[in-house]
C-alpha cells in the first residue's frame, strides 16, 4: 500500500478515537473517567502531530499535557472532593448547549471546507526532523515571545501559590 493510503487510514482511526474520547469527556457521569478520556484525546492529538511532521510538539504535548496538566486536574478533583459517584454533573441547559455547539460546528466546518477543499498537505518529505530548526527559530526570531512566556509562567506560579495558600497570618 502507498504511504498516502496509510496516512489516510491512520488519520481516520485517530479521528474516530479522538472524537469518541472527546464526547465521553463531556458526557460521562464519573469525573475521574472524564479526565482519563481527556488523556485519550490528548494522546490522539499527539499522534496527529507526528502524522503532520511535528515530532517535537508531539512530545511536548505528551510531557506537558498528559504528564502535567491531567495529573493537576486529577489533584484538583481529589482536593475538591468531587462526588465520584454522583450521577449528574450537567445543568439544565444541555439542549441549548448542544444546539449552540452544533451550530458552531456546522458553520465553521462549512466555511473551512468551502475555503480549503482541494488543498493538499504534501507527504513527500525528505528532510529529517524539524526539532533543530524549532530551537533555532525560538532563540532567534521568537526570543521575545519566549521570554514573555517565561515571565507569564513565573507569574502564574506565584499567583497560584498566593491564591491557594491557606491564610495563617492572623496571629
Amino acid at each position: 500500500m502507498s504511504a498516502a493510503l496509510w496516512q489516510q487510514i491512520v488519520f481516520w482511526a485517530l479521528a474516530v478515537v479522538m472524537a469518541f474520547a472527546a464526547i465521553r469527556v463531556v458526557t460521562t457521569r464519573n469525573v475521574v473517567h472524564a479526565a482519563l478520556y481527556l488523556v485519550g484525546t490528548l494522546l490522539g492529538a499527539a499522534a496527529m502531530y507526528v502524522l503532520l511532521f511535528a515530532e517535537f510538539v508531539a512530545w511536548v504535548q505528551v510531557l506537558v499535557y498528559v504528564g502535567a496538566i491531567v495529573v493537576l486536574m486529577l489533584f484538583g478533583l481529589m482536593l475538591t472532593r468531587a462526588d465520584i459517584g454522583k450521577s449528574n454533573f450537567d445543568n439544565d441547559q444541555r439542549l441549548l448547549a448542544a444546539v449552540c455547539s452544533a451550530a458552531v460546528f456546522g458553520v465553521t466546518s462549512w466555511v473551512l471546507v468551502d475555503a480549503f477543499e482541494g488543498q493538499e498537505i504534501s507527504l513527500a518529505r525528505t528532510t529529517g526532523t524539524t526539532t533543530a530548526s524549532i530551537g533555532d527559530a525560538i532563540f532567534s526570531a521568537y526570543v521575545l515571545p519566549f521570554e514573555v512566556v517565561s515571565v507569564l509562567l513565573l507569574a502564574a506560579l506565584v499567583g497560584a501559590v498566593v491564591i491557594a495558600r491557606r491564610d495563617t497570618g492572623d496571629e
Binding site: M48, Y65, N91, T108, F116, I121
Partner: protein
C-alpha cells in the same frame, strides 16, 4: 492529504469543548472542556504548519506557546477552584452567583 480533514476534526473537538463549557456544572470539568478547545486550536496550527512547508515553522512554535499558556491557565484556574471550594464547600458553577446581577 487534504488539509480540510484536519480543520474539520479540529472544529469538531472545539464544538465538543463548547458543549462541555456550557453544560457542565463542576468547575474542574469546565476546565477539562477548555483544554479540549485549546487542543483543537493546536491541531489547526500544526496542520497549517505542515501545509506551509518550507516557509519556516511559525505554526509549531505558536502551538508550543499555546501549550505553555494552557499550563499557566490550568495552574491558576485550579488554584481559584480550590479557594472557592475552601470558602463555599462547593465547585458547582451554578451556585457561584454572588456577583451575578
Amino acid at each position: 492529504m487534504p488539509v480540510h480533514y484536519f480543520l474539520v476534526l479540529s472544529a469538531f473537538l472545539f464544538s465538543i469543548g463548547i458543549y462541555g463549557v456550557l453544560a457542565r456544572q463542576n468547575a474542574v470539568l469546565v476546565l477539562l472542556s477548555i483544554e479540549l478547545m485549546l487542543n483543537a486550536v493546536n491541531i489547526n496550527l500544526i496542520a497549517f504548519s505542515a501545509w506551509f512547508e518550507g516557509r519556516g515553522l511559525p505554526g509549531q512554535i505558536f502551538a508550543l506557546f499555546v501549550i505553555a499558556v494552557a499550563a499557566a491557565e490550568v495552574g491558576v484556574g485550579l488554584a481559584i477552584v480550590i479557594l472557592i471550594y475552601r470558602n463555599r464547600q462547593t465547585v458547582d458553577v451554578d451556585e457561584m452567583s454572588l456577583m451575578k446581577w
